[in-house]
């Protein structure tokens, strides 16, 4: 069955860089998805990204991005816009590797047919495991963008009858981790 991958990218310990993983947790706690939809928090996979993207028919990435606007502004990117600027000399394997990953997947014939990246402008990237207020307030814009894209792909997602707890264990705003909640 056609697989749709919805992936959050970013480091949850560096302030607004965690907006991608946070959005995935919001989607998981509030919506049910029809069909083969996989939600995943990919962290900062760098050059490992192609391993996760290959095999999906459609990909929706949520990431922090330099949109040039105010914190919380979002911008949507399709494949062509990402490939517009070629990657340059790379020193380490961790730097953003989206352009290289897409190029590699294209070359191998494994690029997902549908691709959307939702980028949100962050405000604060210092070490810390919470989002800034503005970014947190604007997360519904990301959720809307994901749902619009799913509708376009003819994949249905509906609000859950009862919302599950938000699984953002790293977030100091969330209820304190209890012994019970610790993985065993």
């Amino acid at each position: 069955m056609n697989k749709v991958l919805i992936a959050g990218i970013g480091n949850v310990l560096l302030g607004d860089d965690g907006v991608g993983p946070f959005s995935i947790k919001v989607l998981e706690s509030q919506y049910d998805f029809e069909g083969n939809v996989e939600l995943v928090d990919l962290g900062t996979p760098g050059l490992d990204l192609p391993v996760y993207l290959s095999g999906a028919n459609a990909v929706i990435l949520v990431d922090s991005a330099k949109c040039g606007g105010e914190a919380g502004d979002i911008r949507l990117f399709r494949k062509q816009q990402i490939l517009r600027n070629p990657p340059r000399a790379r020193i380490d394997p961790h730097s953003p590797a989206l352009t290289e990953s897409i190029s590699l997947l294209e070359l191998m014939g494994e690029m997902p047919r549908e691709f959307l990246m939702i980028g949100m402008q962050g405000g604060r990237f210092e070490p810390g495991s919470t989002l800034s207020g503005r970014v947190r307030l604007c997360i519904p814009h990301i959720i809307d963008a994901v749902r619009r894209e799913l509708r376009r792909l003819n994949v249905w997602c509906v609000p859950k009858a009862s919302v599950k707890p938000l699984g953002t264990w790293w977030d100091s705003f969330s209820p304190k981790t209890t012994d019970k909640a610790l993985p065993r």
């Binding site: 860089d17 050059l47 993985p183």
Partner: protein
């Protein structure tokens, strides 16, 4: 004439490596390695429950998630003197091995192969000649003329559509590139095949770890996997069989494609066996314990000073008393307060100045072992094992040296590995060893379960008062250590001394340069505007600076800027 080169991956918020080098008569005469972002992520852990530390620690870095998870639980277990069941060791080991294989394959093919392969030459290659060359080097089943033709066609199509620039992360047509087109095509074809084997290694991690890239099964005292050979949702015989068949698919790629490719390229660039020698002091910790009490290890550890292999000192345990004592971090030239401190007393208090080449110039502290700068990583791992006569290390190192010698038409010795190319060779040797050890640890796990032992976890007990611990792991980029102080069951201090901190370390209070800085000395630079040679040496270490933030920049014109001053 002296000129100055600055390679600075510019970006607003990313943490990155910046290299400054002075070039005199076409060779580097002075070098500085600087990390341009403050991390201090450890501070987030202070005051937390030690049992949840690994969840945060595995977010230090997006690529090496599992290694930080492991070092974290090992540190807490060390503080509590808590042994873990044999099954937990084996499950952890199988995860670590596959993480490392995945990581080493990515490093060679996707991060650095294009430093040596000139993609512009690929259309000129003869696929039939490539196939006969490849078949003379290895029995890899996917070395047919058709495979090479198909890879070449992909490059030709890309060139025809004017899109070859998407791979423009190398310096093609550079005078230091001199691989025959057929070898370039060989390496590039395996570059395309590599993804499939990364995926298989990653699947092993996902089966045992529950998820990737962030595994879910780690726990202080063992692993969270339930073992029941008959029940679904646990580690069953079916899953063990699936893991074994994935291992059996990955091994041939490592032994028959990756290692032969590295040997061929090393043999064709023999001058790089004489360039890029670093600190000449090497540190590796023992890893892959083969019993619950961690009394025996399949990867040996120890230290070598001044390149003297005969004088190797062996570590008997994962956190050897010598290691515990000898490690310090020196902040003289780093943007932190404090002088030289042991990690348990370590502080992460920023004190930023500008880049001052004689003062503070980086966010990386200078870890030292008994006051000496140490190189860590696969080269250290291989040299320390080789020097001790470790049979598995000798087997694969001697095989690689033989192959490199045959291509280079000169005798290449283990001492020649102390070089830029030696680091690539050592990483491939280590991968070949790990592929053998993947089978061993999968069998150890299966046999132990079949003998009736299904234990995977020993519950931790936290004492009142203060205890200290160190968790070590010989990670893909080298020795990783997490140092914890636990007070009344809460974290009172947490310091991670990561491999790149050792390698990218700045000068210390005695003026000793760090391993990157040492390795860049005497590096040739044919064209200061395109310092490919410096990238080759820095890439040979597999730097891991960003460990961090990576915000996508759609309008970024450049990721790295080279400035000749």
């Amino acid at each position: 004439m002296t000129s100055r080169i600055k390679i600075d991956p510019i970006s607003r918020i990313e943490g990155h490596l910046r290299i400054d080098a002075e070039v005199d008569g076409g060779r580097v005469s002075k070098a500085w390695a600087s990390c341009t972002m403050w991390r201090g992520i450890e501070n987030i852990l202070i005051g937390r429950d030690p049992r949840e530390a690994w969840l945060f620690a595995q977010r230090f870095c997006g690529v090496c998630t599992t290694v930080h998870a492991l070092a974290s639980v090992r540190a807490v277990e060390d503080a509590l003197k808590l042994q873990i069941p044999p099954n937990a060791q084996y499950i952890r080991n199988i995860i670590l091995i596959h993480h490392a294989l995945h990581d080493h394959i990515v490093h060679f093919y996707h991060l650095s192969a294009l430093d040596w392969i000139d993609v512009l030459q690929i259309p000129n290659a003869d696929p039939a000649k490539t196939a006969s060359l490849a078949q003379s080097l290895s029995s890899w089943t996917r070395n047919s003329p058709q495979e090479f033709k198909s890879a070449q066609d992909k490059v030709k199509a890309l060139a025809a559509s004017g899109q070859l620039g998407i791979f423009a992360n190398g310096y093609w047509g550079h005078p230091a590139m001199h691989l025959p087109p057929e070898v370039s095509l060989l390496g590039f074809t395996h570059y395309l095949q590599a993804l499939e084997f990364q995926r298989k290694s990653n699947q092993v991690v996902a089966i045992l770890g529950g998820k990737t890239p962030h595994i879910q099964n780690m726990t202080v005292g063992g692993v969270g996997n339930a073992i029941d050979l008959d029940s679904l949702g646990t580690l069953t015989m079916d899953r063990l069989t699936m893991i074994r068949s994935l291992i059996d698919e990955v091994i041939p790629f490592v032994h028959q494609a990756y290692l032969p490719d590295v040997c061929a390229i090393a043999g064709m660039y023999p001058e790089w066996l004489d360039i890029g020698c670093g600190a000449k002091n090497y540190l590796a910790v023992p890893d892959l314990p083969s019993d619950g009490s961690a009394s025996h290890f399949d990867l040996p550890g120890g230290v070598i000073f001044s390149g003297d292999l005969a004088g190797v000192k062996k570590f008997q345990s994962a956190a050897d008393p010598d290691f515990r004592r000898a490690v310090t971090e020196d902040a003289t030239h780093a943007w932190y307060k404090g002088g030289t401190l042991h990690p348990w007393k370590g502080q992460t208090v920023p004190e930023y100045t500008d880049f001052q080449e004689n003062g503070k110039y980086t966010w990386v502290k200078a870890p030292r072992y008994g006051g000496r700068p140490m190189e860590v990583g696969p080269l250290a791992n291989v040299l320390v094992g080789y020097a001790q006569g470790h049979p598995l290390t000798r087997k694969w190192t001697d095989l690689a040296l033989g192959r490199i010698s045959a291509v280079a038409r000169r005798k290449v010795t283990v001492d020649d590995l102390q070089s830029t190319m030696g680091r690539y060779a050592a990483r491939a040797v280590r991968s070949a060893m790990l592929a053998d050890l993947a089978v061993k640890h999968c069998e150890l796990l299966t046999d132990n379960i079949l003998s009736g032992d299904v234990a995977t976890h020993n519950p931790p007990q936290f004492p009142k008062g203060e205890v200290e611990g160190v968790g070590t792991h010989e990670a893909p980029r080298g020795t990783l250590s997490h140092w914890v102080v636990v007070k009344d069951a809460k974290l009172a201090n947490y310091q991670a001394v990561v491999p790149t901190t050792w390698n990218a370390s700045p000068r210390d209070s005695q003026g000793n340069v760090g391993p990157y800085e040492a390795s860049l000395m005497r590096n040739p630079v044919a064209d200061p505007e395109r310092p490919l040679e410096l990238l080759r040496t820095v890439h040979s270490f597999d730097p891991c600076m960003a460990c961090a933030c990576h915000t996508f920049d759609p309008d970024g014109r450049e990721i790295a800027r080279v400035k000749v001053l």
